[in-house]
């Protein structure tokens, strides 16, 4: 089974990748494709919260380092790891990638909890869930611990 792990450079997407690794059987997974989507017309085409570094005007580098960080999670796990950077609208490109690679599972992170998630419909995770050609694992953030 080919698994697509999508990253938007958020910590939550790293958690999603780790979550997949925590339960999935590496012998059943043939390949993992880590996919990042650069959004050319967005204010910030790609924000990488996962690695150090300045933004030297290239969002592609930011996407690359996010993909590298996520791919490092699966290093030595077993399945072959592909790194993919695409360009366009995030949900569309993830769905296209899923079709193209004949994926058996797409792993995405659901950004946050709360008002913004329920009021502003149409987030990437939601659209992927609705239109992906395969099962989708949406990893939600753990509820905040009260201190």
């Amino acid at each position: 089974m080919h698994v697509i792990v999508a990253t938007d450079g958020s910590r939550q997407s790293l958690a999603a990748a780790k979550h997949l690794k925590s339960f999935a059987d590496p012998t059943k997974v043939t390949a993992v494709s880590v996919v990042a989507v650069v959004r050319p017309l967005a204010s910030v085409a790609f924000a990488d919260d996962l690695s150090e570094g300045r933004l030297d005007g290239t969002f592609r580098d930011a996407a690359q380092s996010a993909v590298d960080t996520i791919a490092a999670v699966f290093e030595g796990w077993g399945p072959k790891v592909n790194k993919r950077i695409r360009s366009g609208s995030a949900a569309n490109e993830i769905i296209k990638a899923a079709k193209q690679y004949d994926a058996g599972l797409v792993v995405v992170a659901a950004g946050g909890r709360g008002l913004s998630d329920s009021v502003l419909v149409g987030s990437t995770a939601q659209r992927v869930q609705h239109y992906a050609p395969c099962p989708v694992l949406v990893v939600r953030p753990a509820p905040r611990k009260r201190k």
């Binding site: 050319p40 085409a45 933004l55 502003l120």
Partner: protein, 490 residues
């Protein structure tokens, strides 16, 4: 970047990864870009066309007289030459940073780079303000009840929200809006053609330069016209935003950017001729929504009210399209500066769900909003300013300075980083463009020295942010290594 040390020992695994990497470089880095030359062309056209002709044509007509098309033709020529410098630099350094990057590469002087970046930000904010006021004038033609200030403030607030949600990212929406924009100008041209065909046109108007006004000589009157119309030529610099994601930038940029400018120039000249032929210059000069006057002449066989409403809606869409691009750019600039620790780190904050730089967006919206409020207060206090014109002038002053510096940077970077194919702009033309930009800049400041106060005020915002980071900011908020150990899988 963290490297998992344990993985490096597993040779077999590592080999496969290297193999995939090589494969990845061939396939993904080149093929998966999404902006085609055609999209880039429409992006340029949409960005340039909306910013001004709908808003400023009256001012230009007032300065020059019937021959104001000359001002548009000369202005767009200077802008297109500047565009060719941008095309050269973009193909040399295909990154999303624009002028700041080029200046940094050419001069390596941090204060200068900071000044250029802040000027660009300020220009963009003033442009949004001017466009928002223009939006309000056309809006009052559709529904005149709400006060103009309220309309422009709500307009800016809505665009901030739209940007936050990410609707602006739709390439197709962008293209559709550009088509509507062009359609509006085609209506004006069509009216002009019908008017000429009916034999009512007095072509003498097209050569009439008004020397009775503030500008005694024809040359000065035209220069004034170029200075006022130049706002309509700006916007092309924003195409650097999508440089990285453009397929085959070496071919696409010169063609789409310069081509877009040439088409925009042609449209401007024809539209100004149509407007001059159909409407008395005095009427154009005193109108807030001057192109609407053309439609109101009743030359097309439709009810004037219907046409006026339709045309207002088209103008509103055109202005919205251009304002959106400027409002997308501002938080991006702030984000880049925050990552470099030049402004407070909050501007690098990205919303967890929307992945938008929400602090930067709200801040930009707030600055533009304050510009509108201050401008309206000054006007009402008898400051005797025309807010659209004033903010447009501020934009033009800042951008002309940036354009001139970019041309110098382009010339200075000749012979450097030329190991890959890039577009080479015509050198004599670049010198001509430099002189043109400086001449318009000089005249604009000479004609309206108080605009410098507004420029200084906006640049002050950048300075305040810099000082805030310098004195209170913690080092490395933007680019420190994040602690990922707390990211748990389950």
């Amino acid at each position: 970047m963290r490297i998992d040390k344990s993985s490096l020992t597993r040779n077999g695994r590592r080999m496969t990864d290297t193999a995939t990497n090589a494969h990845l470089d061939d396939e993904d880095s080149e093929l998966k870009r999404s902006i085609t030359g055609r999209l880039l062309f429409f992006y340029t056209l949409g960005d340039v066309l909306g910013s001004g002709i709908y808003v400023l044509i009256g001012l230009v007509a007032a300065a020059v007289g019937g021959a104001f098309w000359i001002a548009f033709a000369l202005g767009v020529t200077v802008a297109a030459i500047t565009g060719s410098a941008y095309a050269e630099l973009v193909t040399k350094y295909p990154r999303a940073a624009g002028a700041s990057l080029y200046v940094n590469k050419a001069f390596g002087n941090r204060p200068l780079t900071f000044l250029v970046t802040v000027s660009f930000l300020a220009a963009s904010m003033a442009a949004s303000g001017s466009l928002a006021v223009g939006f309000a004038s056309y809006f009052s033609e559709v529904w005149s009840a709400p006060p103009a200030l309220l309309v422009s403030l709500v307009f800016v607030a809505l665009l901030v929200v739209v940007n936050f949600i990410g609707i602006t990212e739709s390439v197709w929406m962008n293209m559709l809006m550009t088509f509507v924009e062009v359609a509006g100008l085609l209506i004006v041209m069509l009216i002009g053609i019908i008017h000429v065909a009916q034999g009512d046109a007095d072509f003498g108007v097209l050569t009439r330069i008004d020397v009775s006004g503030d500008y005694g000589s024809p040359a000065l009157a035209v220069l004034a016209g170029i200075s006022f119309s130049f706002f309509a030529m700006t916007g092309f610099e924003n195409t650097a935003n999508v440089a990285e994601e453009t397929i085959d930038p070496y071919k696409a940029f010169p063609r789409s950017l310069v081509g877009g400018m040439v088409v925009a120039g042609l449209v401007y000249v024809l539209v100004s001729m149509a407007a001059a032929l159909t409407v008395p210059t005095e009427t154009l000069a005193t109108s807030d929504a001057a192109l609407l006057e053309v439609v109101k002449q009743g030359i097309l066989p439709f009810s004037t009210d219907f046409m006026a409403t339709l045309f207002s809606v088209i103008a509103l869409i055109a202005i919205t399209n251009t304002t959106l691009v400027t409002i997308v750019t501002q938080p991006r600039v702030l984000y880049g500066m925050a990552r470099e620790d030049v402004v407070p780190g909050v501007f690098a904050k990205i919303h967890p769900v929307r992945r938008s730089p929400w602090v930067g967006l709200i801040f930009s919206g707030a600055v533009v909003g304050s510009l509108l409020v201050i401008g309206t207060l000054v006007t009402e206090a008898g400051g005797g300013i025309d807010l659209v014109g004033r903010l447009a002038t501020v934009t033009v002053v800042l951008l002309l300075a940036i354009y001139a510096i970019v041309i110098v940077a382009c010339l200075r970077l000749r012979g450097r980083d030329e190991d890959h194919p890039f577009f080479r702009a015509n050198t004599p033309l670049l010198f001509l463009g430099l002189v043109g930009n400086l001449a318009i800049l000089y005249f604009t400041i000479y004609d309206d020295p108080t605009s410098l106060l507004w420029c200084a005020g906006l640049l002050g915002v950048g300075l305040v942010l810099f000082l805030a980071e310098y004195f209170f900011g913690s080092k490395g908020t933007g680019s420190k290594a994040p602690d990922l150990d707390d990211v748990k899988g389950v």
